[in-house]
C-alpha cells in the first residue's frame, strides 16, 4: 500500500441564503506516503474547505476520503478521535490559532494531554522540550506567551503542536503566507527537514506558486471549487496546459529585470460559487472561450503522462 490518502469525488456544499454554495465540487486525488501535494488557487476557490473536509473539520456533503485504506467520511466520533493523532493541521495565522492565555509549553502539551500520552508530568515536559528542539525553538521560550514571540516563532509552535502526536499526514493551510521572506525560508526548510526525518505527507495549501513549486511533488490547481489542472510539479511548470494556470503563472511578479514574459491579464474576477450552471467555470474570464464552454462543463481528463486538465479545447490551445 503506497497511498496514504485517496480522495474520491469529494463535495462540500453550503446552504446559504442565495442557494447552494459549491465550495468543493467533485475533487479527486491521491497522495503517497512522505510526499507533498500542493493545492493552489486564489482566495475563495475552496482550497481551505478542501483541507478541512479531508480532516473532517467540516463534514463533507458526499464523496470518499480514504485514509490508510479506510473511508473516514462516515465513521463515528470515537473512531475519528482515535484517528486524529495521525492527521494534523498547521494554520495560516499563528496568532489566531494559538491560545493567547496559554504558555508555549501548555500549547505544545495540549494534544499530549488530550490523548493521555504520558502518565506523569516529567515525561510530558521532556517531550515538550524535545519537540521544541525539533522545530528549532530555543528552550528559554518554554514559559513565554504567544504575544511575546514574533511570527516565525509562533508558527514554530504551530508546527510543534501538529507534530506532537507523531502524525503521518499534515494539512498545511497557508503556513508561510503571514511571514516575511527570510522567516518564510526558515519555516519551509524546517518543514522539508521534518518531512525527511519523519516521513510525513503534506497537503500544502497556498496561493503562492513559487512556494508550492519549491515544496511539492504534485500540484492541483483549483478554480471555483474544482480541480482544473493536476500533475507532477515539474510537468506543470514545463508544460502548462490550462489557460487559467497559464494566466496565474504569468501574473506573478518575478524579482528579476531580465525577464520579458508575456503577461496574460485576466479580465474580471472569480464568478459566484452559488448554484453554478453547467458550464466551464473559468469561461467568463477565458480568452479562448467558445460557445461550448458556456454550455457544458469540461471533465478532468488525462492528456498523457498523468497530466490531467479540465478544458474542452486543451488540444487546440496547446497545439497537441
Amino acid at each position: 500500500m503506497n497511498e496514504i490518502l485517496q480522495v474520491k469525488n469529494l463535495k462540500k456544499y453550503f446552504n446559504v441564503s442565495g442557494g447552494t454554495l459549491h465550495a468543493v465540487d467533485d475533487v479527486s486525488f491521491t497522495m503517497k506516503y512522505g510526499e507533498t501535494l500542493g493545492i493552489v488557487g486564489e482566495s475563495g476557490c475552496g482550497k481551505s474547505t478542501l483541507g478541512k473536509a479531508i480532516l473532517r473539520l467540516v463534514q463533507p456533503t458526499s464523496g470518499e476520503v480514504i485514509f490508510e485504506g479506510r473511508d473516514i467520511t462516515r465513521i463515528g466520533n470515537k473512531e475519528l478521535t482515535a484517528l486524529r493523532p495521525k492527521m494534523q493541521m498547521i494554520f495560516q495565522d499563528p496568532m489566531s490559532s494559538l491560545n493567547p492565555r496559554m504558555s508555549v509549553s501548555q500549547q505544545i502539551a495540549e494534544p499530549l494531554m488530550i490523548y493521555n500520552v504520558y502518565r506523569n508530568k516529567a515525561d510530558m515536559d521532556k517531550r515538550v522540550l524535545e519537540l521544541m528542539d525539533t522545530v528549532g525553538l530555543a528552550r528559554r521560550y518554554v514559559d513565554t506567551y504567544p504575544h511575546e514571540l514574533d511570527g516565525g516563532r509562533r508558527q514554530r509552535i504551530g508546527v510543534a503542536r501538529a507534530l506532537a502526536l507523531n502524525p503521518k499526514l499534515i494539512v498545511c493551510d497557508e503556513p508561510v503566507s503571514a511571514l516575511d521572506v527570510l522567516i518564510q525560508a526558515q519555516i519551509l526548510n524546517l518543514l522539508q527537514d521534518l518531512q525527511k526525518e519523519h516521513g510525513l505527507a503534506y497537503m500544502f495549501i497556498t496561493h503562492n506558486l513559487s512556494v508550492v513549486k519549491h515544496i511539492s511533488n504534485d500540484i492541483c490547481v483549483m478554480y471555483l471549487g474544482q480541480v482544473i489542472e493536476q500533475c507532477n510539479t515539474k510537468e506543470l511548470f514545463r508544460n502548462t496546459l490550462h489557460p487559467y494556470t497559464k494566466a496565474l503563472l504569468s501574473a506573478i511578479p518575478v524579482p528579476s529585470l531580465n525577464k520579458t514574459r508575456e503577461r496574460i491579464i485576466l479580465k474580471g474576477e472569480l464568478a459566484s460559487p452559488i448554484d453554478p450552471k453547467d458550464a466551464c467555470r473559468f469561461a467568463p474570464r477565458c480568452i479562448y472561450a467558445k460557445e461550448k464552454c458556456h454550455n457544458c462543463a469540461p471533465e478532468l481528463v488525462d492528456v498523457g503522462g498523468n497530466h490531467k486538465t479540465a478544458c474542452h479545447y486543451v488540444k487546440e490551445i496547446n497545439g497537441l
Binding site: E42, S43, D150, G151, G152, D180, V181, L182, I183, Q184, A185, Q186, L188, N189, Q192, H207, L209, S210, V211, K213, H214, I215, F237, A247, L248, L249, S250, A251, I252, P253, V254, P255, S256, L257, N258, R263, I265, L266, E269, L270
Partner: protein, 348 residues
C-alpha cells in the same frame, strides 16, 4: 533629471512609549523626481510604513515624533520638529490642505480604508469638494469620471463598499487618492491583500495612471517582484536605516549589501530548482535597543572585526548606488566581503 517632487532629508523618527524609545526611522534620505517610482523594501517592522506616515503627517500622536530631518514636497518643508503646541497646530492645518491634494496615500487593506456606511461615490467626491470649490454636481461628475478611469462603471456610484470585491475596493481607493491629481502618491503594500491575478490588474492600472498623470510614486512593499515590475529606483530598509539604495538595475543585478543578497536568495524561484532555500538565522534588531555598530552584524555572513567597531555610513560604491556596509567604505581597513565571508567561515 527633472526637479525633485519629494525629498526626505536625514529623517529621524522615534516612538516614545512607556517602555522606552523605539528608534523607528534612523537617518533616512531619498528623493523622487516627477513621474518616477521609488520602491521601499524591507521586513515587517523595518520602518517602511513609519516613513510613509511621516510624509503624510499622520504619525500616531503623541507617541510618534519627528526628532529631526525634513520632508520637502516641491521644495516646501512639511515637518514640524518643534514640540510647541501652537506650531504643531499650525502645521496640522497646513497638512490638512496638502493631504489628498498634493500628496495622498493608498493603504494596504482597502476594506479598512473605506468608510463602510458611506456610498463610494460620496467618498470620492468628498475629497474633490474638500480641496476645490467645485459644486456638488461638478464633484459628482468628476467622481464618476474617476471611477470609470479605474475601470468601475459609473452607475455603481451609489453602492456601498461591502458590495464590491477586494480588487474593486482597491480601485476605489486608488480613484480617491488620485481624485485631486496629487504630485506624490504613496502606496503602502497596495496589492498585498489581493490575489495574484487581481494584483496584476491593479499594478497595470497604477502604471497606466502614473504615466497619464506624471505622478511620483513611493511604492512600499515586501515583494521584490512588485519592485521589479513597477519601480525605477529601490531602497532597502533594515531596522529603520537605509542599507542599500540605487536604481533597480543596481539592486537586482548587482546587490551589494549582505542583507539585500539574503533577501534575494531566500525567495523560492519559478525558474530554478533549489533543494533548500538559503535563509539567515536570527531576527531584526529590536528598535528599542539598537546596537551602536552595524545593525545587521548579528545575522551577517560577511561580518568581520571592523563591523563591530563602527556604524558604517551610506557609501557610494558606484555612481548612484549606495551601500551601508563596512566592506564598501573607502580605506576601511576591512577585508572585501568575499574574504570576510571566508574568514567568518574559517572562524566557525
Amino acid at each position: 533629471m527633472s526637479e525633485k517632487v519629494l525629498e526626505v532629508k536625514n529623517l529621524i523618527v522615534h516612538y516614545e512609549t512607556q517602555d522606552g524609545v523605539a528608534e523607528a526611522v534612523n537617518d533616512v534620505s531619498f528623493s523622487i523626481s516627477a513621474g518616477e517610482t521609488l520602491g521601499l523594501v524591507g521586513e515587517t517592522g523595518a520602518g517602511k510604513t513609519t516613513i510613509a506616515l511621516t510624509i503624510m503627517g499622520l504619525l500616531p500622536k503623541p507617541a510618534g515624533c519627528v526628532i529631526s530631518g525634513e520632508v520637502l514636497i516641491d521644495g516646501r518643508n512639511i515637518t514640524e520638529t518643534s514640540r510647541n503646541r501652537a506650531k504643531q497646530r499650525k502645521n496640522d492645518r497646513m497638512m490638512r490642505r496638502l493631504r489628498g491634494n498634493d500628496v495622498s496615500m493608498i493603504f494596504q487593506d482597502p476594506m479598512s480604508a473605506l468608510n463602510p456606511v458611506m456610498r463610494v461615490g460620496d467618498q470620492i467626491s468628498e475629497v474633490i469638494r474638500l480641496h476645490s470649490s467645485a459644486s456638488r454636481a461638478v464633484a459628482t461628475q468628476k467622481a464618476m469620471e474617476m471611477m470609470e478611469l479605474v475601470g468601475i462603471p459609473g452607475v455603481r456610484f451609489k453602492d456601498y463598499p461591502h458590495e464590491f470585491s477586494g480588487g474593486m475596493k482597491q480601485r476605489i481607493v486608488i480613484a480617491m487618492a488620485l481624485a485631486c491629481n496629487p504630485r506624490v502618491l504613496i502606496a503602502d503594500e497596495p496589492t498585498t491583500a489581493l490575489d495574484v491575478t487581481i494584483q496584476a490588474q491593479v499594478l497595470e492600472l497604477m502604471n497606466d495612471l502614473k504615466r497619464q498623470f506624471n505622478t511620483s510614486l513611493l511604492m512600499i512593499t515586501h515583494d521584490l517582484g512588485v519592485v521589479a515590475e513597477m519601480c525605477d529606483k529601490c531602497a532597502v530598509i533594515y531596522a529603520g536605516q537605509m542599507v542599500e539604495h540605487g536604481t533597480v538595475e543596481h539592486i537586482f543585478n548587482n546587490a551589494q549589501h549582505p542583507y539585500t543578497q539574503a533577501l534575494f536568495s531566500a525567495l523560492p524561484s519559478l525558474d530554478k530548482d533549489v533543494d533548500r532555500l538559503k535563509s539567515i538565522s536570527g531576527l531584526m534588531s529590536d528598535p528599542m535597543d539598537l546596537p551602536p555598530y552595524c545593525t545587521f552584524y548579528e545575522r551577517c555572513d560577511a561580518r568581520c572585526h571592523r563591523c563591530m567597531e563602527l556604524d558604517p555610513p551610506l557609501t557610494e560604491s558606484e555612481p548612484g548606488h549606495f551601500v551601508k556596509c563596512v566592506h564598501f567604505m573607502k580605506d576601511n581597513g576591512a577585508p572585501s566581503p568575499k574574504e570576510g565571508a571566508a574568514a567568518a567561515e574559517a572562524s566557525l
